[in-house]
Symmetry: none
Subunit: 218 residues, 4 copies
DNA sequence: AATGAATGAGGATTCATTCAT
DNA sequence: TATGAATGAATCCTCATTCAT
């Protein structure tokens, strides 16, 4: 289980950002804004430099290429996005502790990722936009999602199916429904129509209810 | 109801493309392939010309700018994608004729859009990738989706709710679940993981079942 | 005197234009307008074709290159512009017939060239604009102006000086004053400020008076 | 009189060019040479770069467009060319000090502009060639010439007419004669036939004599 | 560490000219 | 004779990246 980390270890990775100089932080902020706005290919380093208030050359002191800058922004977010499912005791937490049933798990995942995207939606937007164009992102996603999170979640689904709480569909299909429904909500909410006047709590509740009834044992 | 067309009228519009010369068709084909592959901004006209087997100038004889080429490819697909919901008698078809219940409607929509995306997934992929970067696409989508399809579908949902077949949620939310679930399936199937070995008929059935149970009156 | 023509012969040259087809005439008209407006280098053959209402290829059926089209327009005008001074009996006309004195000659030249430019100012404008960039124009001008007109006019000036009617300056210098003054008026009048409200008769008279007093024997 | 400057102020503006880097100076020199030689539209930035010994991109680091490069060369020359007439005490200098009569004034203007064009004829050539094609040049000329120089010179002409030294023609017409004659000389001397073997002092003297007699009270 | 001038490869686009119809 | 699709070289300009200061 070498690919599993404690929350503390994961946070440590993120905290390494603290080492960044003031200028470097400005560069990253500007890059996130501009990448999210017009896409990686259409963003120019000179525009980023201008918005960050640094010289053009400064960017390349910290990042060897424009692509490195993109990766340094998106890659950690991929990991962090999947982090809850990588954490060593996620499965036990859900099955043995207080999240004892399906509903608890769905609520936990939705709430948890809702908060995450609320804070990180610009980077998530960049990821969504660029995932098509950079095999590296797909590779990283495959690694963290498919190889670890998926397996763990499929075990969980099987567990619920065995307990008789969940419909008998292939676990992959059930997973697809869950991801599709939750991500559909979050992407709609934060990426596609962030300016709409959402009643978040109500929508979360509807989403959970929809998932529960859609997946419950008949 | 001037914005509603018969299927015949819509098809007529598309058939006007037949006027394209052999070279022009080659250009469009190459452009679709390359735009889908690396995105509009990262695609170069010289690469498109080379793949199409024409001179670079030939592209600009038919399309004033690279952006025009993109639009000429994607815009008609936006319309066609929404077309079934624009057609004059869609609502009657579903409510009064043989599609008398929710299940029939969902099956109809899924099957219908499945076939469409099966044929047009490269262009749909381009649309998904570029919709973030071109206000014109969002504008067109807003026009055809929000102003026409949404209203009609919400009426339909209300209709099913009044008949007691459907859960009492805001029609917008129900619509979100339907779109999210169907599009989630189709995008996963054709855009994100087309190389996976899908059992399409089974997945369609699961998707319908998931939607039905998720949305059925409790 | 092989470079001297009768007025009839010169007009014959111009009449060869009659052979032009309707389309060709349209091309020439459009070309004159556009060359005069934006200059030869910035004018495009496709714009000329559009304005002329012909296909792009049609221009090249009549003129091998864009430059040929320019030359076919400007070259004859160079000749015609100098024509009065090339005509076999111009000198006799002025010195022996009714134009017996300096004033008569200056009036004749001014009036004569005034009418010419009034009719041909678009082509004269093109000539002025392009003479810097095409050695061929300078060559043609040198040929017709320097080799023939200048010699004849210098003889005339010497003639007036010998008669004691004209100041003792080098004939080249006198000629420069005459050309400068007359062309200065005509270019100002028709090329630089054609939209001003000129009192042409008064300005012609002032110009003649200025020349006469400037050049008269002291 | 906010549009009037001391000679010192005007020179200060020009001296700010000193800020140019070595490469930038090379670019400007090469551009002047090539614009003068083949005209703005027919000059290519790659040719300018090659002649300047810099990369093509270097041009665009200093000038956003090729047109900006042209303007940065010609615009200051327009101002400088008119500068003597804008200077605060030009009128007093001519009327009240040592240049008390018409002859002094004409000699002053001719000599002064002769030296100017001697130094700046390539840029003046560019201006003459391009003034037809760029409304901006005409606008700038109108501004500096018409609004300031013309009015002042017309006052001066009226002043001489009132003193009985000058012929009674409309001041605009007198001005036209002066400009036409002086510019005719300078353009002929430096732009059209710079290779001729001119006796400059003699020609200046003839030009002054011609103007004086042409404009003197009868 | 930071700057910003310089680079030069590559981009979209234009255009005179050709040629099959 | 006239057309207009096709060409491809050349154009202006952008941009990621380098490097001397």
């Amino acid at each position: 289980m070498s690919n599993q980390f404690s929350i503390e270890e994961l946070l440590k990775l993120t905290d390494e950002d603290v080492k960044m100089s003031e200028k470097q932080k400005k560069v990253v902020e500007a890059a996130i804004e501009i990448f999210a706005d017009k896409g990686f290919a259409a963003a120019s380093t000179s525009e980023i430099a201008k918005k960050a208030g640094v010289a053009e050359g400064t960017i390349f002191r910290h990042y060897q290429t424009k692509k490195d800058l993109l990766f340094s922004i998106v890659m950690p977010t991929i990991t962090t996005f999947i982090a809850p499912f990588l954490v060593r005791n996620f499965l036990q937490d859900v099955t043995k502790q207080n999240h004892q049933d399906l509903e608890q798990m769905l609520r936990f995942i939705l709430e948890n990722r809702y908060e995450f995207i609320k804070k990180n939606h610009p980077v998530i937007k960049i990821l969504l936009q660029e995932v098509f164009f950079h095999e590296e992102f797909r590779g990283e996603l495959r690694k963290v999602v498919l190889e670890h999170a998926v397996e763990k979640l499929k075990q969980l689904i099987t567990h619920f199916q065995e307990k008789g709480e969940m419909v008998e569909m292939p676990p992959e299909t059930v997973l697809r429904m869950i991801i599709t429904t939750i991500m559909g909500f979050l992407i709609g909410r934060f990426i596609i129509m962030p300016d709409l006047d959402w009643d978040d709590e109500a929508e979360k509740e509807y989403t959970i209810q929809f998932l529960l009834h859609g997946l419950m044992k008949r």
